[in-house]
């Protein structure tokens, strides 16, 4: 079944599910898959650190990378996922043109993700991040295949 993940949300699923998320601008799209258990999840996190709005983070951990990623892993473990088998891919984290520091949310999202993964000894298998484009992700949980689409062009990640 196709399931759409909106901004600041996360969904997990298994064989037969296709997880879709649209309009990744500066947001991070994180796709995690355990091929043996055939379970996976897709997180669409908006901002790097929950400390900017703790009240929001308490209501919805998926708005932030630092709270959303651990919660996603926790849920995947509950449905049989194992850390050692997880295949992790990232998409999004775009930026406007120029190098204004005020608008580097995408880069900050990416940095926080990398730190989290590094601390937990997890490798990033593939990524399609940065630039000015907006991305849509299709994540097939039967196969683990990730398709990124932008401006009508699709490619496999």
């Amino acid at each position: 079944m196709n399931q759409v993940i909106t901004v600041g949300d996360m969904k997990i699923g298994g064989k037969g599910d296709i997880l879709v998320t649209h309009a990744l601008g500066s947001c991070l799209g994180l796709m995690v898959y355990d091929p043996a258990a055939q379970v996976g999840g897709l997180l669409h996190a908006m901002l790097p650190l929950s400390k900017i709005n703790l009240q929001k983070a308490a209501q919805n951990p998926y708005m932030f990378v630092d709270t959303g990623v651990p919660e996603m892993f926790r849920q995947l473990y509950e449905i049989g996922g194992q850390k050692s088998r997880m295949v992790i891919k990232a998409a999004g984290c775009g930026q406007p043109l120029g190098n204004s520091e005020m608008f580097q949310i995408g880069e900050r999202n990416y940095t926080v993700l990398k730190k989290l993964l590094w601390k937990n000894n997890i490798m990033l298998e593939a990524e399609d991040v940065g630039g000015v484009i907006s991305r849509t992700v299709y994540f097939d949980l039967s196969t683990g295949q990730v398709i990124i689409s932008s401006k009508g062009v699709k490619k496999e990640l």
Partner: protein, 281 residues
Amino acid sequence: MKSTIFSLIEKDVSAFPSMPGAAAKLLKLLRNPDSSTAEVENILRCEPGLTANILKMTNSAYFGLTNRVGSIRQAMVLLGWKRLYQLVIASCVSAMMDKPVPGYDLPAGELWRHSIAVSAAAEGLAKELQLSGTDEIFTAGLLHDVGKMILGKFVEQDLVKIDFETYHNLSFEKVEQDILGTDHAEVGARILEKWRLPAEMIAAVRWHHEPENAPSISQMGDVVHVADFISLMIGVGVGREGLQYEPSKAVTRRLGIHIGHIEKIASQTLEWVSDLTASFK
């Protein structure tokens, strides 16, 4: 070629719908401190659709009124005349801006969500930065991209050129200028002129992608410029051009904005958008 396109665009601007007569009258009344509540009520008495829209929006969680408002008189007392002015405009443009926008690849509803997001984020930023004199910021945010409704068709015809390699690092309004001889900000400003909206609001729309070229500095324009990026970055109404616009460093400097302000407003914007758009359904 460019001049032919330009004259076609001009034609579309003049053919663009005017403000409905009742709305135009209301806006005039609401800007005049000598008008009375009764005059406003008189006009709305013959406009059940507009009245219903205004009341629905008045009761949106965004405005934070505790009791349900059932009459225009109450709405005017509780929200104030400036809000009512904004709601009259919002109610007139909502149906129009809810349509899909070709060229920019915005499906139905996305231009409207983007506009609402920029309105709310701009108000949020103005409050966060404790700016004053920004009463019209909500409407400026709401209408900043209205020009896309005319320019979309022309952008679509020239997509092949627009996707050309040379244009990849150019802020999108400059791509539009280069190929079409004008951009969606200018076209939007022309629509606002046609609607006889206030000059500062028109300027905020006209310069929302190039605030540094504006003849005079406007905090309202500056805040709309920043709020636009917030909405695009969080993926609300982000179209074919993605994030291909360049933020002005002069603007963030003179507003004294930090990344913390931007992230804080971003974290609240989606809730504001759903509160405001829910009231239209």
